[in-house]
Amino acid sequence: MAEEQSNGHKWTMIVDADKCTGCQACVVACHAENNVPVSSEDEVIRGRAMHWMRIERYWEGEYPNVKARFLPVFCQQCGNAPCEPVCPVYASYHSTEENINIQVYNRCVGTRYCGNNCPYRVRIFNFWAPRFDAPLEQQLNPDVTVRSPGVMEKCTFCIQRIRRGREQANIEGRPLEDGEIIPACAQACPTDALVFGDKWDENSRVAQMVPSERQFKLLENLGTEPAVYYLKGGETHVGE
């Protein structure tokens, strides 16, 4: 479904790979904000670590000219999302208001088709019932559903923050400001590697950052039209 610029918002994230230090602040912030349970050691070994976002680390070259590159990967909120058409019950659907992908947990029956069809592998499945050893459940964010076992879940660009921000602006009868809504990851990122905003708002920071020559999209060849733009990591050379 093509997206049309309407009165909605085109939420966009910019990931500056040059600044990402892989420090995991965003990952833990996401766990805290979105009630993502922690996977046990055995589950991680079985390849079921639950993170809505992860920092992929790729090695380049060999010692001593070795480089490690960090790539934060979370739901790319594709404009042309492969996960959406395959869901038989519309649990994975495209929000025409926010122009991101929404996962409706209570609608999900758990066919996991969307998970297979996501080339970024950012959709995770609740293989077990979530567990929070008492009293750790006191921390749970009341704005986010605790997902029941058997459903798919994924990064939502902190839809609860987006909605809260919009509702608040609505109640107060004013337009949204750029930077008013920030997802937990971008908020935590010490180096400011994650920038979030509405691309359709011409004055927003993201709208100005998108046309960078360092910009690329992850697996762009698949035509998924992600709403996440990456900025290539640079290199400063010695003696030039």
């Binding site: 079921r48 990967v73 519309y90 066919t111 996991r112 998970g115 076992p149």
Partner: protein, 485 residues
């Protein structure tokens, strides 16, 4: 029809020709061809009905064994529902495992039954007559078992009704864009169609059973036979309906496996995203399905002593059919493999590298089972007509085709676009139990079914034998006896 049968009269009343050479030829023909080796209808009836009551100790032992496995399957399923899919070996990247492979596999083995019955019926192949019902039955139960798997597979079985198009106040419908939805529709349609197709053909035999049975069986059959009396009008309608259903069911059959394959090929997944998957899966399904029918034929013939009905000619014909399918399947497999190989896309190559790397034992076993063995043996008539040989080949093809499905489903998923997320898959006990248990369940259903309905379509055999001396010219039925001689 009944009238025509009456006017031409049973040819077995004819004496053998006087010429000794010719007499031997006719005798040999009768030995080989069921249609030429006619027996009085009453005898056919008795032969079939007697076997339905036959339950020796071996029957009960087999029943108990299969029952135990089936029970294990349902217990494993219940445990999986309670504790969540965490007990399976599925993981973050390989979200579809043997459950989906089983779905494909069971639809596959169910595939050939109705095809054999319907297509061969339309092509007026007489050899189908005694085996048609045995084949249709495996379609029925194969599909029923296959239909369990989406239910076993989903995370929230108690919300499965969301997939049904139920009008509701919330304006929520299933997603008609989803291949999964259409797959479900196709399976349901095929299941209903196959059931009808089989049931329609079953009515005269149920009526026959009703007429020969007493007690509760009589009650059961009189209810099931819907008051069949065998009037000419009834026979006429039966033929019309059967022919109609035969025509209708074949496209549905194609749609089912194409639908299943599209679940995979419509996805952005190296190893899945292939244009050939539709026909490839249909052929693969026919391949495993025909092999399954042969297996069933052997077992039914052996355990129920149906040597009279299932003869060399049947195994020979099915063997040839299997050989043709082997070649077709090899063609498709080769076409898919070489396209990917020549295309040299890194991720497709990664999938192939996995098949020849960590999964090599499975991969080569699959090639051995699906290509080497059938291609090397089925050329020989001796092999085709040897029951032990066909049993082994049939089982090997089942194994091979099952492995092929698992490799396609779980194998491909373990290599995806971002190499950071590659992961291998090993099944855990629930998948193993459920898979074996479903096979047992299929066997159990089949076994019980053979004791409740005549597994040989007596009327069809009888009709075939009766029609053997006749052919249809326009609306008239004429004797062809001279041609036989």
């Amino acid at each position: 029809m009944l009238e025509s049968r009456a006017t031409i009269g049973p040819y077995w009343d004819e004496p053998l020709p006087d010429d000794e050479h010719l007499a031997r030829q006719v005798e040999h023909g009768r030995e080989e061809h069921l249609m030429l080796d006619a027996r009085p209808p009453a005898e056919l009836n008795q032969l079939t009905l007697a076997r339905m009551r036959q339950t020796g100790p071996r029957f009960w032992i087999a029943l108990a064994g299969l029952g135990a496995l089936t029970l294990a399957f349902f217990i494993a399923w219940a445990i999986q529902i309670v504790s969540g899919l965490g007990i399976t070996g599925l993981n973050r990247s390989v979200m579809w495992g043997p459950y989906i492979a089983n779905l494909i596999y069971f639809i596959g083995i169910g595939h050939a039954g109705t095809f054999i019955s319907a297509a061969l019926r339309l092509m007026r192949m007489d050899f189908r007559r005694p085996i048609a019902r045995a084949a249709e039955t495996i379609t029925l139960f194969g599909l029923a078992c296959a239909a369990l798997f989406p239910i076993i597979h989903v995370g929230r079985i108690w919300k499965l009704f969301y997939m049904l198009p139920i009008p509701n106040q919330r304006d929520l419908w299933p997603n008609f864009r989803s291949a999964l939805f259409w797959d479900m529709m196709a399976i349901t349609t095929y299941l209903i169609g196959s059931t009808l197709f089989m049931y329609v053909a079953l009515i005269p035999d149920l009526a026959m059973a009703r007429d020969h049975m007493t007690g509760w069986r009589r009650k059961l059959y009189s209810a099931l036979s819907l008051g069949w009396r065998g009037t000419e009008g009834e026979w006429h309608r039966l033929e019309v309906v059967s022919n109609l259903l035969s025509f209708v069911i074949i496209p549905v059959m194609f749609s089912v496996h194409t639908g299943v394959s599209w679940n995979l090929s419509m996805a952005i997944q190296p190893g899945w995203h292939s244009a050939i998957f539709g026909p490839f899966f249909v052929v693969g399904a026919l391949y495993s399905g025909v092999a399954a029918v042969i297996l069933v034929m052997i077992i039914v013939r052996k355990t129920m002593r149906f040597g009279y009905f299932m003869r060399e000619e049947h195994f020979n014909a099915m063997g040839i059919f299997l050989l043709i399918l082997t070649l077709t399947w090899i063609y498709f497999y080769f076409a898919e493999w070489i396209t990917n190989w020549y295309g040299n896309l890194p991720l497709e190559k990664a999938v192939q590298a996995m098949l020849t790397g960590p999964l090599a034992p499975l991969f080569y076993l699959m090639l051995f089972c699906n290509i080497v063995v059938p291609l090397g043996t089925l050329w020989s008539r001796r092999v085709r007509t040897s029951l032990p040989a066909m049993l082994v080949i049939g089982i090997l093809i089942q194994v091979g085709m099952y492995i092929e499905r698992v490799l396609i489903v779980s194998g491909s998923l373990s290599r995806n676009e971002l190499p950071f997320n590659w992961v291998n898959y090993t099944p855990h006990w629930p998948e193993v139990t459920v898979t074996l248990g479903t096979l047992a369940f299929l066997g159990l259903l089949y076994m019980v079914y053979t004791r409740f309905v005549p597994i040989i379509p007596v009327w069809e055999v009888y009709e075939g034998q009766a029609m053997q001396g006749s052919r249809r010219v326009g609306r008239a039925v004429m004797s062809t006896r001279t041609e036989v001689h």
